[in-house]
Amino acid sequence: EAGVAQSPRYKIIEKRQSVAFWCNPISGHATLYWYQQILGQGPKLLIQFQNNGVVDDSQLPKDRFSAERLKGVDSTLKIQPAKLEDSAVYLCASSFGDRVNRNNNEQFFGPGTRLTVL
C-alpha cells in the first residue's frame, strides 16, 4: 500500500516570501493532519481535517498559515508571509478515522517537508 506522499521534500525561502506544501494521504483515510516539528521537539498539531471539513485548527497561526482539503483527499498547507521562526519540518499524517473504535486510529506519517526561512 502506498504511504503518505508529501512534496516538496526541501524548501528554502527568504522571510516574507510565501510557500506551499502538498500532501496526499493514504487512500481511504478520512482524517488528515498537518504538524509542525521544530528541531529538537516533537510534532505539534497545526490542523486536523475529517474528509473535507476542519475538525481543529486552534493551533494554526491563521494570520499567516492556511490549509485546505477541498475534495477530501489531498491537502495543501500555505504560509504567507513566512517568518524566520517558521523554519521547521512540516509533517502530514493520515488515519482511517474510525468513529467507533478510537484505538483503531494509528496515524501514518509522510516523510515531511523541511522548510528553511532565511
Partner: protein
Amino acid sequence: SQQGEEDPRALSIQEGENATMNCSYKTSINNLQWYRQNSGRGLVHLILIRSNEREKHSGRLRVTLDTSKKSSSLLITASRAADTASYFCATDASYSGAGSYQLTFGKGTKLSVIP
C-alpha cells in the same frame, strides 16, 4: 502544548544492551502510542497501549502503562545499531469532536546504539 514528556532526552548504549525510555503525561487518556523517527524522516508507529492495559509486547518492544502515575515506559531489548532514532510518546486524550482524535507528542528521547 505538549503533554508527554520523555525521559531521558538522550540515551547512548552499546549494541545488545536494553534501552528504557519513560514518558509522563498530565491528563486522562484513551490510549498512549510510541513512535520512532529516524534522522530526516517521518514518524513510524511502533505500538499502542490502551488505557485499560498495563503491559504490551511487540517483538523486542515492551510497553508499560501506569495510569495512576500517568506514566509509560518503552523497553527495547537486545538493541541494534538500526534502533538508533528518536522515540516519541503520544497521548490520545479525551476528545469529543467529530469522532476523530488528536495525538499530543512529547519532545522525544534520542537513542544512540553504538555498534
